[in-house]
């Protein structure tokens, strides 16, 4: 994990970040915290298709999974608009669909709080409460988020570390997921093409794809332009970040807009090949999966659940 030189991890910084993460003081009416949309029990999401903010405002996208987010690169958010966690943490505070607050107000609340000035002093060595800034708050939030590591799923234990044996259905699902291996072609199973976008230890490529969710007449017709709105490149319209699949069984509903309620629906979508567009990822194709093959994939996806991370006391709401 790359730790910025100007934001080294400290116990005090992580503890401060954890409190800020779960403290609704960060929102306009003290009703919403980061933890409102990123709950451990939901795999650090909120279980909603679109997240709810202050005054019941509905956001335009689904809450992103945060486990192992410290390893992410190539932009954060579904559209990649933020370069790093320190920058990302600044955005939800002033988003009218999220915390609807202003940073000057938040800083005022933190400076006048009976506990936070001490915590900022311990974390960052400030000598006066007036030295509390949004940048320091963001650094603390980033430090906490870098601790949210998940690596003890059945997949980790049985496949990556070889400590046990995966079930037969999981083995078949793995072959379909990472098909181009010895035995993939000989298995008689279909290549599910998953790993082109969800690979590596993180089970994400950290890239942006059009995975065929929407039928559009042209690349300019996507209702949500996704990465294209950030890069200004038409070819990037309708592309969204491939999220990590760690704890995917707990992060329903799925996709950037939460359109699929279950993993079965997700698998059916990829089986269909998605809607054709000029920038549809070329690895999307009609798969023709059998019901057994869909069940194998589901079993393998379920093996990514890491209950040790979900229940880790260090990740829970401290209030």
């Amino acid at each position: 994990m790359e730790i910025p030189a100007d934001n080294p991890m400290t116990e005090e910084g992580i503890a401060l970040g954890r409190r800020l993460f779960y403290d609704p003081i960060m929102s306009l009416d003290s009703t919403i915290s980061c933890g409102s949309c990123h709950m451990p029990n939901n795999g650090m999401t909120d279980g909603l298709a679109l997240s709810t903010g202050v005054d019941g405002a509905i956001g335009r996208r689904s809450s992103m999974m945060l486990f192992n987010i410290g390893y992410a690169y190539n932009g954060l958010f579904w559209d990649g608009r933020s370069p790093n966690l320190e920058d990302q943490a600044l955005h939800p505070i002033e988003d009218i669909n999220e915390m609807k607050e202003s940073w000057p107000n938040v800083i005022g609340k933190l400076q006048n709080h009976n506990d936070y000035p001490r915590r900022f002093r311990e974390a960052f060595g400030i000598s006066d409460r007036d030295e509390i800034t949004k940048e320091l708050a963001a650094k603390a939030l980033a430090q906490f988020q870098r601790t949210l590591i998940s690596g003890n799923s059945r997949y980790d234990k049985n496949v990556i570390r070889g400590e046990g044996f995966p079930e037969d259905d999981e083995v078949n699902g793995q072959l379909m997921y990472f098909f181009e291996t010895q035995g993939g072609a000989a298995s008689g199973l279909e290549d599910a093409e998953c790993a082109h976008c969800h690979n590596g230890f993180l089970l994400t490529s950290n890239q942006y794809f059009n995975n065929g969710l929407d039928e559009v007449a042209s690349l300019n017709d996507f209702e949500d332009l996704g990465q294209g709105a950030v890069t200004g490149q038409t070819i990037d319209n309708g592309k969204f970040r491939a999220p990590s699949l760690r704890n995917i069984a707990l992060t329903a509903p799925y996709m950037h807009d939460g359109r699929f309620n279950t993993l079965e629906e997700v698998i059916d979508h990829y089986d269909s090949g998605g809607h054709v567009a000029a920038n549809l990822d070329p690895n999307m194709r009609v798969l023709g999966l059998t019901e057994d093959e869909k069940a194998y994939l589901l079993a393998f996806l379920n093996s990514f659940t890491d209950m040790e991370a979900i229940t880790n006391p260090d990740f829970q709401n401290p209030f």
């Binding site: 181009e180 690979n199 690895n283």
Partner: protein, 246 residues
């Protein structure tokens, strides 16, 4: 404490000097430009394939290994591994990087290989520092235990409707797809304190010279699948011949 301070300052100075180019050395600016039928390619724009099929290219990248300058029987390596990721920069898909600290002189030519050599391919991205081109897991394929030596992607419309139904995805990798280059004996002058431009064109039509894209639109170099291996071999050969110094 003072003496340690001096030591730290001295080490820091040495460190900085170590990273800087010596005034007596020269540099090479390597540029790679993608072309199709001789014209610069813009990613995402529509071109015509052999029989007029509309085709777009969306991703073009490959690893260049052991780029070296040739002087008689000697080779002076200027880059162990370079990941050529062609991106749209103004007028066409291109890539640019600079190699410094090159001893001045007139070299007979250059040579490079395509892919990731075994000594580097035996490691996984996590073992490389983040500033290494080998640290990006998007270009590593666990199922092969290999880097993806080349990724060439796009889409094609093969039935004259407005849709690009055919996904084009050639992903080559594993040792058998590594291609050793032969020296190109075009003299290259490296001048003290100056930067020499080396501009390569990658002609996409040459990459596909022995591939029928509409009928063989993708290969993920699947072990145990002779057809897939055959396509990847032809793409690998085509890519090597498609890269020409301008």
């Amino acid at each position: 404490m003072e003496k340690y301070g001096f030591l730290i300052l001295a080490l820091a100075t040495l460190s900085i000097l170590g990273c800087q180019q010596k005034d007596t050395d020269g540099s090479i600016n390597m540029k790679v430009v993608a072309t199709y039928q001789g014209q610069p390619v813009n990613l995402g724009e529509t071109y015509s394939y052999t029989n007029g099929e509309p085709v777009i290219f969306t991703l073009l990248n490959f690893f260049v290994a052991d780029l070296s300058l040739v002087s008689g029987a000697n080779e002076t390596r200027i880059s162990e591994i370079t990941h050529v990721k062609l991106e749209d920069v103004g007028s066409g898909a291109r890539f640019s990087t600079t190699f410094e600290n090159i001893t001045p002189g007139t070299y007979d030519g250059y040579v490079f290989d395509l892919g990731v050599p075994e000594r580097l391919n035996m490691n996984v991205p996590e073992t490389y520092s983040s500033d290494s081109p080998l640290s990006d897991s998007f270009f590593y394929w666990e199922a092969w235990d290999s880097y993806i030596f080349a990724k060439i992607e796009g889409r094609m419309d093969n039935d004259a409707d407005p849709n690009f139904e055919v996904g084009i995805a050639y992903h080559t990798g594993t040792e058998r797809m590594f291609r050793e280059g032969t020296p190109n004996l075009t003299p290259i002058a490296i001048v003290e304190g100056e930067t020499t431009d080396l501009t390569f064109h990658v002609e996409l039509e040459d990459i596909f010279e022995n591939v029928d894209v509409p009928l063989e639109p993708f290969s993920h170099t699947t072990p145990g699948n002779p057809e897939s291996i055959s396509i990847s071999n032809r793409v690998s050969d085509g890519l090597l011949s498609a890269i020409q110094l301008q």
